[in-house]
C-alpha cells in the first residue's frame, strides 16, 4: 500500500489531506488492516471543536474499539455521512475514506506532522520488520 505523499500522518495512524485552511481526516491503511473489519465509525458533530492529540471519535471492529486522535486543532465543518451506513469503505480504501473535515485554527500546524516517508518508516519500526 502506498501512502499518498501529499498527506500528513500521525503516530496514532490518522492522516490529514490539506486543502488551504481545511483538511480531511481519516485513518491509515495500516490502521484499518490491524483493526480488521470495521463495523462502526463514531464521528464528531459538525461544529464541534477538535484538539490536536485529543480524541475526536472512534472506530469499532467486532471485538475492539479504537479511539481516533485529531491530528490538528480546529472546527469540524463536515463529516462523511457515507460511513454511517457503509463503514466497510475504510477497509476497502482507507486513504479515500475521510471521516471528518476540519477547519484548522493554525494552518501551519499540520506541517509538524509526519511525511508519508517518515510514517512508513515509523510503522516499519512498530511492526519490527
Amino acid at each position: 500500500m502506498t501512502y499518498p505523499a501529499t498527506y500528513r500522518y500521525t503516530r496514532e495512524h490518522e492522516w490529514i489531506e490539506l486543502d488551504g485552511a481545511t483538511g480531511k481526516v481519516g485513518i491509515t491503511d495500516y490502521a484499518q488492516n490491524s483493526l480488521g473489519d470495521i463495523v462502526f465509525v463514531e464521528a464528531p458533530k459538525v461544529g464541534a471543536t477538535v484538539e490536536k492529540g485529543k480524541v475526536f471519535g472512534s472506530v469499532e471492529s467486532v471485538k475492539a474499539v479504537s479511539d481516533l486522535y485529531s491530528p490538528v486543532t480546529g472546527t469540524v465543518t463536515e463529516v462523511n455521512e457515507e460511513l454511517a451506513t457503509a463503514p466497510e469503505k475504510i477497509n476497502t480504501d482507507a486513504h479515500a475514506s475521510w471521516i471528518m473535515k476540519v477547519e484548522l485554527k493554525d494552518p501551519a500546524e499540520a506541517q509538524a506532522l509526519l511525511s508519508a516517508e517518515d510514517y512508513e518508516k515509523f510503522i516499519a519500526e512498530e511492526t519490527g520488520h
Partner: protein
C-alpha cells in the same frame, strides 16, 4: 461430599502425578499466618432430606394459604406449568452466557425471540436481552438519555414506583446528573402544567411510569408532546407487563423500561425478576446490556450471535455504556415461554380478566372507603382511603387470612389512610366479597380521625 466426583485414592494419585506430597503444598503461596487451621463456624454438612426440611420449615414461617391484594411492583399471576419444566432443562439452566455461538444457539434464538416479542408489545424498534430488573433498568435508561442528550437534569414523576426512584437516585448521585421530582395532579397522574414549567433546556429526560404506582394510566401522548417540544427524551417505565395486553403501548416514548416479572416469573420475595430496555432504533449505540442479532454462517445457514458487544465493559472498560455484565437470561426465558403460551389472543384475554377483577374489586371495596383518583383510567390497582388506619384495617383482614392493600404512608404521607390494592386473574370474587365484608365491619370508634 456428594457433589465431589473423586475417591480418596484418586486424589492421592493426582497429587503424585503433579509431584507434590500433599494438598497443602498447592496452597503454599497463601502466607502461613492467613491459612485457616480450623473449621468454618457454619452449620454441619446436611443430608438432602434435611435441607428440604430446613426450607420447608422456613416456607412454613411465611404467609401460607392467605389471599392477597398486594401488587406495587410485584404481581401474582398464574404461571403455566411448562415454564418450570422447560427452564429446568439442564441445557438452559446450566449453560453459560452464549459467547460461543456454535454451541449456544438455543439460548441465542430464545433471546432473539424475546427481543422480538418485547418490541411487539412495547411498540419500540429494538429491545435488549434483559436487565437486572425494572428498578435498575429505569436507572440505566436515565443514564442512557443523559448520554444521548448531553444534558444533566432529569425529571422523575412522583408516581414512579418509590423504590425505582430510590435506585435511580443512587445511580444519579455519582453520574453528575440531578434528578428533580415531578408532582402529580388531582387525577393522580403527572401534572402536565407542572411538567411544562419544569422542563428546561438542560432537561435530558422525563421518567414516568404507566400504569403508574397508583395503578393509573398516564396520558403518554400528551406527556410526549410536552417533553419533545423541549428536546428532552421521554422514558416510560412499565412495572406491570400484563397491562400491555390491553393498554395502548407507549409508542411516543423514546425509551421504554419494562419489568417483565408478571410474565410467568415467581414472586420469590422480590427477585430474581427481569428488566428490559426497549428503544427507538436511533439510540441503538447507547443501549446498555446484551443484544442478540441474526446472521449467517459460511454455508448460509441462519444463526444468532451476541452483537455490538463493543458497547460493553469487557471491551470499553472505563468507557463502557454501563458496568453490567450478566443479564437475566433464564428469567427472560421464563417470560418468553409465558408469552408463547398466552400468545396474541391470550395476553389480551388475560389482561381483560385483570381489568374486570379490579373493576369489581373497586366497586365492592369503595363502598367502605373512598376511591382516590376515581375518574382516571386504571389497570388493576387502585388507591383506597379509609377512616380506619391501614395497620388496624390490615390486622383485621389478617385475622381472616387476607393480606390487604399496601399502606402508602411510607412514601405518600399526604394521602392519609391510603392503601394500594391489586386484583389479578387469580383474585376470586369470593375473596373480594370477603374483604369487602370485613371492611364494612370497621369499628365505629376507629372511624373518628
Amino acid at each position: 461430599m456428594r457433589y465431589l466426583p473423586k475417591s480418596p485414592a484418586e486424589r492421592e494419585a493426582m497429587l503424585a502425578e503433579i509431584g507434590v506430597s500433599g494438598i497443602n503444598d498447592l496452597f503454599s503461596s497463601v502466607p502461613e499466618e492467613y491459612r485457616l487451621t480450623h473449621d468454618l463456624a457454619i452449620p454441619r454438612q446436611m443430608g438432602e432430606s434435611e435441607i428440604v426440611d430446613y426450607f420447608k420449615q422456613a416456607a412454613a414461617h411465611n404467609a401460607n394459604g392467605y389471599s392477597s391484594f398486594l401488587g406495587a411492583g410485584a404481581y401474582r399471576h398464574y404461571r403455566p406449568v411448562i415454564i418450570d419444566s422447560l427452564v429446568q432443562r439442564g441445557e438452559f439452566l446450566t449453560s453459560y452466557t452464549p459467547y460461543q455461538a456454535e454451541i449456544t444457539q438455543g439460548t441465542l434464538q430464545a433471546i432473539f425471540e424475546f427481543q422480538t416479542m418485547i418490541c411487539e408489545l412495547t411498540g419500540m424498534d429494538i429491545a435488549n436481552a434483559s436487565m437486572y430488573d425494572g428498578s435498575t433498568g429505569a436507572a440505566e435508561a436515565v443514564m442512557m438519555a443523559v448520554r444521548i442528550t448531553g444534558r444533566g437534569d432529569v425529571l422523575v414523576a412522583r408516581t414512579v414506583h418509590p423504590e425505582y426512584r430510590e435506585v435511580m437516585q443512587t445511580y444519579a448521585q455519582h453520574q453528575g446528573h440531578v434528578a428533580h421530582e415531578l408532582a402529580y395532579g388531582e387525577d393522580g397522574r403527572v401534572d402536565l402544567k407542572a411538567l411544562d414549567q419544569s422542563l428546561t433546556e438542560n432537561t435530558a429526560c422525563v421518567l414516568v411510569q404507566s400504569p403508574n404506582f397508583f395503578g393509573l394510566i398516564e396520558d403518554i401522548p400528551a406527556i410526549a408532546d410536552i417533553v419533545h417540544k423541549k428536546g428532552a427524551l421521554l422514558i416510560v417505565s412499565i412495572a406491570e407487563a400484563v397491562s400491555l395486553g390491553i393498554v395502548r403501548p407507549p409508542v411516543e416514548a423514546d425509551i421504554v423500561s419494562l419489568e417483565a416479572q408478571s410474565f410467568g416469573v415467581a414472586l420469590s420475595y422480590g427477585g430474581p425478576y427481569c428488566g428490559v430496555i426497549a428503544a427507538k432504533e436511533k439510540y441503538l449505540r447507547q443501549m446498555p446490556g446484551r443484544l442478540v442479532g441474526e446472521t449467517k454462517d459460511k454455508h448460509g445457514r441462519r444463526g444468532f450471535v451476541l452483537t455490538l458487544s463493543t458497547r460493553e465493559q469487557h471491551i470499553r472498560r472505563e468507557k463502557a455504556t454501563s458496568n453490567i455484565c450478566t443479564n437475566q437470561a433464564l428469567v427472560a426465558l421464563m417470560t418468553t415461554i409465558f408469552l408463547t403460551v398466552y400468545g396474541k389472543e391470550g395476553i389480551k384475554e388475560l389482561a381483560q380478566q385483570n381489568l374486570a377483577k379490579a373493576h369489581y374489586a373497586v366497586g365492592a371495596l369503595s363502598r367502605h372507603g373512598k376511591l382516590l383518583f376515581a375518574g382516571t383510567p386504571r389497570f388493576h390497582e387502585f388507591v383506597l382511603e379509609t377512616d380506619e388506619a391501614p395497620e388496624q384495617l390490615n390486622a383485621r383482614l389478617l385475622d381472616h387470612k387476607i393480606i390487604g392493600g399496601l399502606s402508602l404512608a411510607r412514601w405518600y404521607p399526604e394521602l392519609g389512610n391510603a392503601t394500594l390494592w391489586c386484583a389479578t386473574e387469580l383474585t376470586t370474587r369470593e375473596q373480594i366479597d370477603q374483604a369487602a365484608a370485613i371492611l364494612a365491619e370497621a369499628p365505629v370508634a376507629a372511624a373518628v380521625r
